[in-house]
Symmetry: C2
Subunit: 119 residues, 2 copies
């Protein structure tokens, strides 16, 4: 049973939009990621996702709203809801989501990460 | 889709060992809690639990080790592993665990919280 330090783990992430896993909790993964720029619109048909800002800030775009998230802010994106993260500057986040969740959801494309490495 | 600020939510917790829920993620809950003192030895037969320290520090006791956790540290306690949180001073933590998880696991007793309120 080892402890996991979020800030040490973040140093191991050297690319944007490339999540790394830090823990398995039942059928869910705890992931860290760094974001900068604009992601693709997508949704996860069967999976809720939890986002927490660790450092920096970003905007979660929905079709009818934009939610600005800063350090200490969290949001649950329910299954079936289209969303698009947009980070004006680099932001570090933590995610809880099912092991099965693909980062690009139903959108696919070049940003899709089929494998999430443990960091 | 509202954002959830961890530090605003923590202000709503006014008792130790009384978790409050801040989000549902599929069949899991994201909870916040404040701990001080010594909890009971217990295990969760079917459920892994994720702990993250938000403010302060505590020790997670296992039968064969003690893991000291400070701000930014996390730990996954796997199903079936006996553990006991001990906080020398007040600590604020975030938990991610199944909706079904009871705080005292198999131990029961007066510290058991049957209902986790949303805060």
């Amino acid at each position: 049973m080892n402890k996991i330090n979020l800030y040490e783990k973040l140093q191991k992430i050297d690319a944007f939009w490339s999540p790394g896993a830090i823990g398995i909790v039942n059928d869910h993964l705890v992931k860290l990621a760094k974001l900068q720029g604009e992601f693709v619109w997508h949704q996860h048909e069967h999976e809720d996702e939890f986002f927490m800002v660790l450092e920096g800030a970003f905007d979660m775009h929905f079709r009818d709203a934009i939610v600005h998230l800063e350090e200490g802010d969290c949001i649950v994106v329910p299954k079936g809801v289209e969303h698009k993260p947009v980070a004006q500057e680099a932001v570090s986040i933590l995610l809880f989501e099912p092991i099965s969740t693909l980062n690009t959801g139903d959108a696919g494309g070049p940003l899709t990460k089929q494998e999430i490495p443990f960091i």
